[in-house]
């Protein structure tokens, strides 16, 4: 068992509040990703869990034990750094065995553990090399190997893939996901890349300016963003936002006006919004379509052909620019007049404070755990 719990964790540097009260529970064997724009405090939060930064107030519980003042090495965590932070004067094997050497483990046992970690990461032929003789991807693997050797309760990753090139990043992403399954370990992962977050996480924690904006599974965040920030941050290309007004509220939801005079009834919980209120309508580019039956009309201003898809930037009559992700074979050019179709079920409404207005339906994948369709029953911890 390895759980991590944060209770009203705060961090202040001088007079600046960096982390402003974070409550979070990381379950055993969960892959949790902290994501957010740079400066949101995600790395600081991770470093506080690691013990590399002090905790100004609040409680950090590792396996239920308060660990605020426990030294980093005694917390039973291992961290993989963005720069890999290998010891340049030691061989790969010595790098991986360093913690064991400090702990007084015999050389035999050290080598055995190093070899078994090296086998998992295909590092065996490199054990006698120095870090400078390795490629970026290999160094990254050594850094992960150094973490594995310690058999930590929780793995911490601080933007581990951001120094790798795009192709290697995709490969390492897969490897990390595989490693998570293989080691069956609790992992906390920090990134600014929402694709990494979406692809690897069991649970994503979206942070902004030292505050958690939303916690949920990748698809929950995608289909049910709690506010404008999360809606805009998760998903690529970014969600379209249109300022509009509620015309009518009925049992189907709230009808809002569209640029050019149309209306659209978004399925929100009746009573959660009043007619006449100003709201923001959010809809993702991939949920829009081009066709004669469209409800919004406009003119194409930019076309981006990506091969598999086409991004069409449409200037509406209301002078908003909305992005439509159309088929890759779409034959369209700038200045064409187009109609944009919207499915009401894919739309989101946000109130004036940016908070999402509760939807009356829930996406069928939003609450499913990533991976296996039905989680296999696990033996409850304890001795028999």
């Amino acid at each position: 068992m390895a759980t991590v719990e944060l209770r009203d964790i705060r961090k202040t540097f001088g007079t600046v509040d960096v982390i402003k009260g974070v409550d979070l529970r990381v379950e055993d064997r969960e892959f949790v990703v902290f994501v957010g724009p740079s400066g949101c405090g995600k790395s600081t939060l991770l470093r506080m869990i690691a013990g590399l930064e002090g905790i100004s107030s609040g409680d950090l519980l590792i396996d239920g034990q308060k660990s605020n003042d426990v030294s980093p090495d005694a917390r039973g965590l291992a961290m993989v750094f963005q720069s890999y932070a290998l010891y340049p004067h030691m061989t790969v094997a010595d790098n991986m065995a360093f913690s064991l050497r400090l702990a007084g483990v015999s050389k035999e046992q050290r080598m055995e553990k190093v070899r078994s970690a090296a086998r998992i990461l295909q590092l065996e032929p490199l054990l006698e090399r120095k870090p400078k003789e390795l490629s970026g991807g290999q160094r990254q693997r050594v850094a992960i190997g150094r973490a594995i050797v310690r058999q930590p309760r929780v793995f911490l990753f601080d933007e581990p893939l951001s120094n790798l090139d795009a192709a290697l990043r995709v490969q390492m992403r897969l490897e990390l996901a595989r490693l998570h399954q293989q080691l069956d370990a609790t992992m906390i992962y920090v990134t600014h890349d929402q694709i990494e977050a979406m692809t690897m996480a069991d649970k994503i924690v979206v942070l902004r300016a030292g505050v958690i904006e939303q916690v949920g599974s990748p698809l929950e965040l995608y289909h049910h963003p709690a506010n404008l920030f999360v809606a805009g941050f998760i998903g690529s290309p970014k969600m379209n936002f249109l300022e509009t007004t509620v015309i009518e509220v009925n049992e189907q939801g709230a009808a809002v006006s569209l640029p050019g005079g149309g209306t659209l009834t978004v399925p929100v919980v009746p009573g959660s919004v009043r007619p006449g209120s100003d709201v923001t309508l959010g809809v993702r580019p991939e949920h829009l379509s081009l066709g004669s039956d469209g409800v919004m009309h406009g003119q194409v201003s930019v076309v981006e052909h990506l091969g598999g898809g086409t991004l069409v930037y449409v200037q509406t009559q209301g002078d908003d620019i909305i992005v439509v992700q159309a088929d890759g074979d779409t034959d369209i050019s700038v200045y064409d007049a187009v109609a944009v179709g919207i499915r009401p079920a894919d739309c989101h409404l946000f109130d004036q404070n940016g908070a999402a207005i509760a939807r009356s339906t829930r996406h069928h994948l939003a609450d499913r755990r990533r991976g296996a369709p039905a989680p296999a029953p696990r033996a409850v911890g304890g001795h028999h």
């Binding site: 690691a50 013990g51 590399l52 030294s71 980093p72 090495d73 005694a74 965590l77 291992a78 961290m79 750094f81 963005q82 720069s83 890999y84 932070a85 290998l86 010891y87 340049p88 004067h89 360093f98 913690s99 400090l102 702990a103 120095k130 870090p131 400078k132 003789e133 970026g136 150094r146 310690r150 120094n163």
Partner: protein
């Protein structure tokens, strides 16, 4: 194209001029050491002459070079080791556990170098006389250590500061005690810096003349005193003085020349990224 070429040419000429200007006195000293006393003072100076080793013979006859040299080596290395032994822990503490006053402490340490040594000559001399340190190697080791510590600490501090923080943080996750962190991580990582600090300290000790001339007589006198003994009241013997000086600076010049490459190579590391 042409302007960059001209600029390159100008820079080259400039660099060579400066280099030659700096090197010329050493070159001239070397040349003079192979002249006779008469040729050495001739005006205009003679560039073409029959080289002779008679000055080196004369110097050897008059003074025991080896004894002076051994003193120089012993004092330089001794005080460098002592300065590093005190300086490394001090710089470690200042670089990684700084307080509000660390910066001012460093500046204050450096400011002690601004004091003219002659200002403390009398008290130091009296102290040395009363403690029996006059004309002893240990006496000079103590004074040189004290003189060089500010620079040693300052240099080590900047080298330690350059060690990538994430490597030390990775270390802290692995759990070394401070002593282990210093020995197993920081010192190997900062080794090129420690080596160049040590080298500088050796050079400074080797060249120091004020205290060595004032605090030693014969037993502990290093090579600076050896040179000085050739500018005696009987008159200046330029050729012999040059020969003595050449012999005095030769070891340190060779050490500097050899270690230079090693130091530069050591500074390129493959640690981060």
């Amino acid at each position: 194209m042409e302007t960059t070429l001209r600029a390159k040419l100008l820079m080259t000429v400039f660099a060579w001029t400066v280099t030659l200007l700096i090197f010329f006195p050493i070159f001239w000293m070397l040349v003079t050491s192979f002249k006779t006393e008469v040729e050495a003072v001739a005006t205009p100076p003679s560039l073409f002459f029959e080289p002779t080793l008679e000055n080196y013979d004369a110097v050897q006859e008059r003074a025991n070079y080896i004894r002076f040299a051994l003193n120089s080596i012993g004092i330089s290395i001794g005080s460098t080791l002592a300065a590093l032994a005190f300086g490394i822990p001090a710089a470690y503490a200042m670089a990684f556990f700084p307080t509000k006053r660390t910066k001012s402490t460093l500046l204050w340490m450096l400011s002690t170098k601004m004091l003219p040594p002659v200002g403390v000559l009398v008290p130091i001399y009296l102290l040395f006389r009363d403690t029996g340190l006059l004309d002893t190697q240990i006496g000079l080791v103590i004074i040189y250590t004290l003189i060089n510590l500010p620079i040693v600490v300052w240099m080590l501090y900047s080298f330690f500061k350059e060690v990538p923080g994430e490597i030390l943080e990775a270390g802290r996750m692995d759990g070394p005690k401070p002593r282990q962190e210093l020995w197993m991580l920081l010192m190997p990582l900062a080794l090129p810096g420690i080596a160049s600090t040590g080298l500088l300290s050796v050079i400074l000790c080797w060249n120091e003349a004020f205290w060595s001339l004032n605090l030693t007589a014969s037993q502990a006198a290093p090579l600076t005193a050896f040179i000085a003994s050739f500018s005696s009241p009987e008159g200046l013997f330029w050729a012999k003085l040059s020969a003595a000086s050449t012999m005095a600076i030769a070891p340190i010049l060779i050490i500097g020349w050899l270690s230079q490459r090693q130091l530069v190579r050591g500074l390129t590391f493959g640690a981060v990224k």
